[in-house]
Subunit: 188 residues, 2 copies
């Protein structure tokens, strides 16, 4: 499990409430680890019980109270130990690929609009990443260690999106080829 560790990293970069963490997981961290607020609240309580994080209750005017969490020493040690453990291989879940293979038993043309939709989403994400890179890392030579590591993770996201866009174009070309000369029963 790594949700604990993802939360710890986020809290070490910047303390915050469960709600704020949930929003970070929608943005930057969500690029490589997703979590809903329900998961986050539950894990935060466990982490607090284990002494990994400390809480500070902050009363706000007009707003509900806020529990601001920050990484405690046992949490830092746990993170350090986890860093030295080997990671198990990522379990992949690529639904679109399943659909592409399923299209062989149906009309491949029915997938075109879906693939185009994905293509647009990935293009938009790439644009966001590139904008974020220009904003946060304008001068790559002047970055400290933390920023350099954040930057290399972002570059991974950028290259992933570029690769995916190129592949989706390949998929679209294949689907169009199949639609033009169907060697399948069904159409026409």
């Amino acid at each position: 499990m790594a949700l604990e560790h993802a939360i710890l990293v986020s809290l070490m970069e910047q303390p915050g409430s469960g709600y704020e963490l949930a929003r970070r997981f929608d943005r930057s961290i969500g690029r490589f680890w997703t979590a809903t607020h329900q998961q986050i609240y539950r894990v935060l309580r466990r982490m607090e019980a284990d002494g990994w994080i400390a809480v500070e209750l902050i009363a706000q005017d007009g707003r509900p109270d806020k529990k601001v969490y920050s990484a405690a020493e046992p949490g830092r040690r746990a993170l350090s130990a986890w860093l030295r453990e080997p990671v198990e291989p990522e379990t992949v879940r690529h639904e679109l690929a399943v659909k592409i293979r399923a299209a062989a038993f149906d009309d491949p043309a029915a997938l075109v609009s879906e693939v185009e939709r994905h293509r647009e989403q990935h293009a938009a994400l790439l644009a966001r990443y590139l904008a974020g890179e220009r904003r946060d890392f304008p001068d790559p030579a002047a970055l400290d260690a933390r920023e350099q590591l954040q930057h290399v993770v972002l570059r991974g996201g950028i290259e992933y999106e570029r690769m995916t866009l190129a592949w989706l174009d390949d998929v679209l070309a294949t689907l169009h080829r199949l639609a033009n000369r169907p060697s399948n029963p069904g159409t026409s």
Copy 2:
């Protein structure tokens, strides 16, 4: 949920037992959808109850009986309907990226061997994909619809591995740069 659909696709490509499906999920399908045999047995029973698939009990000499499943008409219709539904975005889980960001609060050099291990695994996987491509798709001009779709999914896997290898080299270069001139407290 798409495990049902991944199983359906596999059964339409070729009927088989739960055990055989589990092995396919270890190999080809596992590239974009993983599942253990326990999950597969559970889902197969549900799919059979729903009439999506048909079973044929096959007695074998020396071996336990085999339940060979094949896609039934309601299953085909369900697959066809699913194909036309939009897919929800993939939930990403990239533990190594979490570790890279965590390394900012620890010794970045401690990650080098782990990243190198990942690099080797991805290099080996790429080699397997390329070998599979040469074996299964030696003449791309002579493929039927099903093979063309399988091939484009495989190309996606190949490009993903190439991209990942290049990125891991980038990560290693970054880690080495940080180890040589550490702007972090801790080392020396």
